[in-house]
């Protein structure tokens, strides 16, 4: 789960940027302000651009380190491993894709769940990581989240899910993926009825079937600045409506303006904000 590996210079679209005379990976270009910034400085600063506060992607292990008390996270259900239920083949077989993604990320699938502490407050914590097949939800993601919600209900603990899912429901597992939306949402219905507090944190990107299920069902919804959040992909919307999309279309700010997000919170403030909200709602059980 550690990410001590060196970074290389990349541009906003993820392509390698050749840089003469500078060792690989020392510098990166911000995809927002285009400034060339020192990689270590970004990493030390919550993966924020020092020039413009652009929020870069954060791997799950670091997300946990940022939000939970040191060494307090106890991972659950890590033994769940994805399966190629359809025998799905596009440009490559899904089972091969899974192996490659697992090797690339060091994770079995996009979702990590468990119990941890936030400034001493116990809670159930989960993430979806956009590095693993776009953070899309197949059976493993759906099952882990459902079990996490059921455990939170049983243990009467607050629940925080940090979503980073550009892929929505995972196509490679077909209709079984779609049903995970219903499964997790039904578990959240029981958690809600039991009086549990669910804080949903939306990060870049949270789209499709993930946005249209658990990620939208928080009692409190928090978004990181300028994250892409929505149901239909912007390209699909553009093709359907044949109009220019608003500049802020499907950003955190757009959702705040239209009433679907409680607060936009910058990453360095996130832990503090979550703790404050949990303390307001601690009598809910």
């Amino acid at each position: 789960m550690s990410t001590g590996a060196p970074l290389d210079a990349i541009t906003s679209n993820g392509q390698m940027r050749p840089k003469r005379g500078v060792p690989d990976g020392l510098w990166i270009q911000c995809e927002s302000c285009k400034a060339t910034v020192f990689r270590k400085q970004v990493e030390k600063n919550f993966h924020l651009c020092p020039e413009c506060d652009h929020h870069f992607y954060v791997p799950t292990a670091e997300r946990i380190a940022q939000l939970l008390d040191e060494d307090s996270f106890e991972e659950w259900f890590s033994e769940l491993n994805p399966k190629d239920v359809l025998g799905f083949v596009d440009s490559r077989p899904y089972h091969e894709r899974l192996k490659a993604e697992q090797k690339k990320t060091g994770m079995r699938d996009a979702c990590t769940v468990g119990r941890g502490y936030m400034r001493g407050r116990p809670l159930v914590f989960a993430t979806t990581d956009s590095a693993f097949i776009m953070g899309s939800m197949g059976s493993v993601v759906g099952e882990k989240l459902t079990r996490a919600v059921e455990k939170a209900t049983e243990l009467k603990l607050p629940l925080v899910i940090v979503s980073g899912s550009g892929g929505g429901a995972r196509m490679h597992e077909g209709i079984v993926s779609l049903m995970q939306m219903g499964k997790v949402s039904a578990a959240l219905a029981r958690y809600h009825e039991a009086g549990g507090l669910f804080i949903s944190v939306l990060t870049n990107p949270t789209m499709g079937g993930v946005a249209a299920s658990f990620a939208s069902l928080g009692d409190i919804t928090i978004a990181e600045p300028k994250a892409l959040i929505g149901f239909a992909g912007p390209r699909v919307v553009k093709a359907t409506c044949k109009i220019e999309l608003p500049d802020d279309f499907q950003t955190s700010e757009f959702l705040l303006k239209h009433g679907f997000v409680d607060r936009i919170v910058s990453r360095p403030q996130l832990k503090q904000e979550l703790v404050r909200i949990i303390d307001y709602c601690s009598k809910s059980w």
């Binding site: 992607y57 079984v176 946005a211």
Partner: protein, 340 residues
């Protein structure tokens, strides 16, 4: 009466039908002609069975989208003894892509919810070809909650290419509204019967799909994404929609195998578009039978049954083995996180 619109694989059926109507139009048929009529009739039935037994997933999509396939309003007309439409979501408007109202099915009073694609161009434009906006999902849930208040069972007919992908839909919270429906439908203590009658398009279908029973018609499909959408993303072009359709395994047999649906409701010979009345009779019989089975259950029993129905969907392994060893991450993973 045969349909106007012809699917490519229906051509031999239409040819035989032409032949048959020519034979039948003769005013004084000889015994030989009468014999031919009998033969052609038999051949026609055999042909329909053969063609429709061998449809692949992409052909099924075409049948599911057939312009003359019966839609929600046709079924309301054919199977309900009474229908009192209820409009509006009390927040924004009245989405014509989802029709809601009280209905009588034999002796049963139900809340009837159905997605409507429209038949004429005017109708289709009014309901965006069956693609509901947030106000449609909100309307559906409001009426369902009303039904639950008075103990009425709920029948949901699903028929949509997907929830509408538009600027207004996003501004009004398409994702939130569907999510909210999923959660709240899980809490309604009355029987919910969902049937995919044509296209079960992704979250837009599931948004009224959390049922105690979920069924599909024989030539309907239920998918995580449209075959065109899937082809565009994974095969880089919509022209591979047929490939995507086959890969997604979304027709009746597979849906049964994965535990997604409880039953596949047979269609009349040659598809529902050839005989609305026969299709409606099958559909009604199924709904009434499912209602009878669910009505004796208490509210908590219905909630538990519905929970478990969705709870058990999912395929995975539980492995006990060493952690996966990670390669050195590339810059793309570490910073951007998306995998293409």
């Amino acid at each position: 009466m045969s349909p106007q619109f012809q699917l490519p694989f229906e051509r031999p059926i239409f040819q035989l039908e032409d032949q048959l109507s020519q034979l039948e139009s003769q005013s004084n048929p000889t015994p030989a002609i009468l014999e031919s009529i009998r033969t052609v009739r038999l051949e026609l039935a055999r042909m329909k069975r053969e063609v429709f037994e061998n449809l692949d997933a992409w052909d099924v999509v075409k049948v599911a989208r057939h312009p003359e396939r019966p839609q929600t309003l046709d079924y309301i007309e054919l199977i309900c003894d009474e229908f009192i439409e209820l409009h509006g979501d009390r927040t924004f408007g009245d989405d014509r892509a989802i029709i809601t109202g009280f209905a009588k099915l034999d002796d049963y009073k139900v809340m009837f919810i159905g997605q409507q694609k429209g038949r004429t161009l005017k109708e289709r434009n009014e309901c965006f070809y069956g693609c509901a906006h947030p106000e449609g999902y909100r309307k559906a849930l409001l009426k369902m909650q009303m039904a639950a208040k008075y103990g009425l069972p709920i029948v949901c007919l699903i028929d949509t290419p997907g929830a509408y992908p538009g600027v207004g839909a996003e501004e009004r919270g398409q994702a939130y509204t569907i999510a909210y429906n999923l959660r709240e439908m899980a809490r309604l203590p009355v029987p919910i019967i969902s049937v995919v009658i044509g296209e079960g398009g992704s979250g837009g279908a599931l948004g009224i799909g959390i049922g105690n029973t979920v069924s599909v018609l024989q030539f309907a499909y239920y998918s995580v994404i449209s075959p065109e959408g899937c082809a565009g993303i994974l095969w880089k072009h919509v022209k591979f929609a047929d490939k995507a359709a086959r890969a997604l395994k979304f027709t009746g047999k597979d849906l049964l195998r994965f535990g997604i649906v409880d039953e596949v409701i047979p269609e009349p010979l040659g598809g529902a578009h050839r005989d609305h009345r026969a299709m409606a009779t099958n559909l009604k019989a199924t709904i009434v039978r499912q209602l009878r089975a669910l009505l004796p259950l208490s509210g908590p029993e219905l909630l538990e049954q519905r929970y478990q129905k969705f709870r058990k969907i999912g395929e995975f392994d539980e492995v006990v083995q060493a952690k996966i060893s990670q390669e050195t991450p590339t810059a793309e993973q570490t910073l951007v996180g998306h995998s293409k």
